[in-house]
């Protein structure tokens, strides 16, 4: 009997996660278009539904009804598998994300590790898609994606290690529990390391690079490589790539929220005599989503502000700035932990 409820629970979560990922992808596209439009002082989608809110639906229908073209000479299997390779790990990563204290599909002790493991698969999708499409632009893009991977993953992991050292756990829910109010958020935990805000910035920059978002979208670089690895994709093949990209953005932002911004905790903390009806103090999914979407907003905002970096620009940034600073932060944190704990 207990087994069945567990199975049902997992199933419900699975459906929920897929729906959440799909909905997010759809509405982040909408947000992106609206936000870009307003930054550029346009209106953006407005014809389909109020404020163009049904636009993602229309886009979805359009993508789904389009023909899937496999270019001549393409490796059919790789070509078809590639989009899934981006989307599937992203969806799998959602399993360990705590949306609130109780709302988490699987509270795994090594949650952080699992997300990073899945995130590394991301680059495989681009590589295989680029390689499989038998297009020179796509191959260049694939090569770029792989070398980009080398550049940003190191500082990102170093920063993550720093966080794990401070938190003493890899369980995401426990990390969140340690940040009950805004002064205890890790971004402001100056007692652990005075460089925490910088660490957050490094983490944020790296997650931009990891999700191939501007200004690090060299792999997609529409003015150089047409659409990079996605050049040959049409219809839903392209759609799935897109969903995967946005799902990855959500994962990256969730992780930043959990590690630095207190996850589902309310920034005001829980006063001893808190009235639970007071939403402001009540920790939960709402706070998580607010923080998450603020970060997503920033990701989009960055994209519509800057030009694209050049390849060696990212390498320079990574090796000259991000890696030394994050390493320094790691050492500093280690030293401070030693001093303050003993």
């Amino acid at each position: 009997m207990g087994n069945y409820t567990e199975l049902l629970r997992l199933l419900a979560y699975l459906v929920g996660i897929i729906a959440f990922a799909a909905l997010n992808a759809a509405y982040l596209v909408w947000l992106e278009r609206k936000e870009a439009a307003h930054i550029q002082r346009r209106i953006g989608p407005k014809e389909v539904g109020p404020y163009g809110l049904l636009q993602p639906l229309a886009d979805g229908i359009k993508l789904m009804t389009k023909q899937l073209i496999v270019p001549a000479g393409a490796d059919v299997i790789l070509f078809k598998v590639a989009p899934l390779l981006i989307l599937a790990p992203a969806i799998a990563s959602f399993v360990t994300i705590p949306f609130s204290e109780t709302l988490v599909a699987r509270n795994i002790n090594l949650g952080l590790l699992m997300i990073f493991a899945f995130a590394s698969l991301n680059v495989m999708g681009v590589l295989i898609g680029g390689w499989g499409s038998n297009n020179k632009y796509a191959v260049i893009s694939a090569a770029r994606a792989v070398s980009q991977n080398v550049a940003y993953e190191i500082p990102m992991l170093i920063t993550a290690i720093t966080m794990v050292m401070v938190a003493g756990t890899m369980n995401l829910n426990e990390i969140v529990m340690q940040q009950p109010n805004i002064f205890k958020w890790y971004i402001f935990r100056f007692t652990a390391s005075p460089l925490m805000p910088v660490a957050f910035l490094i983490f944020f920059i790296c997650s931009l690079a990891e999700t191939n978002r501007a200004p690090f979208d060299m792999a997609e670089a529409e003015s150089e490589l047409v659409a990079g690895a996605y050049t040959e994709y049409s219809g839903m093949g392209f759609g799935v790539f897109f969903m995967g990209e946005y799902a990855n953005v959500v994962i990256g932002c969730s992780l930043a929220t959990i590690l630095f911004l207190g996850g589902w905790q309310s920034p005001f903390g829980v006063p001893a005599d808190a009235h639970w009806s007071l939403f402001l103090f009540k920790p939960g999914i709402l706070w998580f989503l607010i923080k998450l979407y603020l970060l997503c907003f920033t990701v989009i905002w960055v994209r519509w502000t800057y030009p694209r970096t050049q390849f060696y620009g990212l390498l320079n940034l990574s090796w000259k700035y991000l890696i030394p600073i994050s390493l320094f932060n790691l050492l500093l944190t280690g030293a401070m932990l030693k001093v303050f704990q003993s």
Binding site: A36, A221, S223, E224, T305, P307
Partner: protein
């Protein structure tokens, strides 16, 4: 260059950039031999939008060729109107009344600003930044509105006539231009903050795509490309025409020879053009807008005539050979971007693809003008 494939045994591949590619802004095709992301050899291929304007000229009356000039460089059409009209005026010995000259200068300079603004946006777009393009369009729109109310069209102007201009400016034009200049002056710092001083952009332009003055001379490059290589050459100053000598303006020159220098030249030129417009608007004389003695049917005396103007992209020259009939015997158009593009092959050798595209953007290519 040592890291490039120099011998046949190493692998290279051919990448077709264009004729339909987002970075070539038109139907330019560049055949690139690549070694990985490095360009071993680049060969621009032209002819995709060739319309035989020069031959067309031989089959039309002098006046009938005027609309063609607006379709060479559609972004600064008035400079081309100007060049052709002035060349024929020189051949036919027509003097243009002063007011008409002033109007020509004001409209041409406005057109130059609009062309530079569009280039600015498109260039940043090439580098991956989308938003500045829309901001530049917002400003450019004001110019197009001003020019539309005077010339009747927004892009492919056909406004100048032999001996003057098609119609006089309207009441709103001078105050409108001055108001626009005020607006753009206030916006320029924003462009510099958002784009010029942006560290990403600086890293992508400084030191990228060096073009020496010597290379410019060899290929005949003119305009901002030449001025970005430290040569102070501008037809408006070096061979003054029309009423340009009456205005006070500088020729921006940068000596760095890189893409950033060419970028800065154009940004500074916007300011200089604003200065010219301001002075011209304040000094605008009254009078006729058409030469009274301009003949209805033009038949220049037989001979060989040349006139060049400073268009937004460099020196545009018109050479006409007349045999005394009402159609040109030969009409040769010297278009600046053709020369500017030809140095791309040499300058892009050994560059990374993305840098080469930055270089190409900094040349400010307009394909219909290269192909004519």
């Amino acid at each position: 260059m040592s890291h490039l494939a120099q011998t046949q045994t190493q692998e290279t591949f051919v990448l077709n950039l264009g004729p339909q590619h987002p970075a070539t802004h038109g139907v330019l095709r560049v055949k690139l031999v690549m070694d990985g992301e490095y360009i071993v050899h680049a060969e621009p291929v032209l002819g995709y939008i060739h319309r035989m304007h020069e031959k067309m000229g031989e089959n039309r009356t002098w006046a009938q060729f005027m609309p063609n000039t607006g379709r060479l460089d559609y972004l600064s059409a008035l400079s081309y109107n100007f060049g052709y009209a002035a060349a024929v005026e020189r051949a036919a010995g027509i003097t243009v009344p002063e007011r008409a000259e002033y109007i020509r200068v004001i409209t041409t300079e406005l057109n130059r600003i609009s062309s530079h603004l569009l280039w600015f946006g498109a260039f940043v777009l090439d580098l991956g930044g989308f938003t500045p393009l829309l901001y530049a369009f917002d400003d450019r729109e004001q110019i197009l509105d001003l020019l539309e109310s005077v010339t009747g069209s927004r892009l492919t102007y056909c406004y100048f006539r032999f001996g003057g201009v098609y119609n006089d400016i309207d009441d709103n034009f001078v105050p409108g231009s001055l108001a626009f200049i005020k607006r753009l002056r206030a916006r320029m710092p924003m462009y510099h903050d958002l784009v010029t001083k942006n560290i990403i952009l600086m890293k992508r332009l400084i030191g990228i795509g060096p073009i020496s003055a010597e290379m410019c001379r060899r290929y005949g490059a003119t305009g901002p490309v030449l001025r970005g290589s430290g040569v102070q050459f501008d037809v408006r100053k070096n061979e003054p025409y029309s009423v340009y000598p009456e205005f006070n303006f500088d020729i921006p020159v940068y000596h760095e020879c890189d893409s950033m220098a060419r970028y800065m030249v154009r940004m500074d030129e916007i300011e200089q053009s604003m200065r010219i417009i301001e002075q011209a608007c304040n000094k605008l004389p009254e009078g006729p807008i058409m030469a009274e003695k301009a003949p209805k049917i033009i038949k220049p005396a037989p001979g060989d005539y040349y006139f060049s103007v400073e268009a937004a992209r460099g020196s545009f020259g018109v050479r006409i050979v007349s045999d005394g009939t009402n159609t040109p015997y030969r009409l040769k158009l010297r278009s600046p971007t053709f020369s500017n593009l030809s140095l791309f092959a040499e300058a892009s050798q050994g560059m990374l693809l993305a840098d080469a595209l930055a270089l190409m953007g900094s040349l400010d290519l307009v394909i219909p003008e290269i192909d004519r």
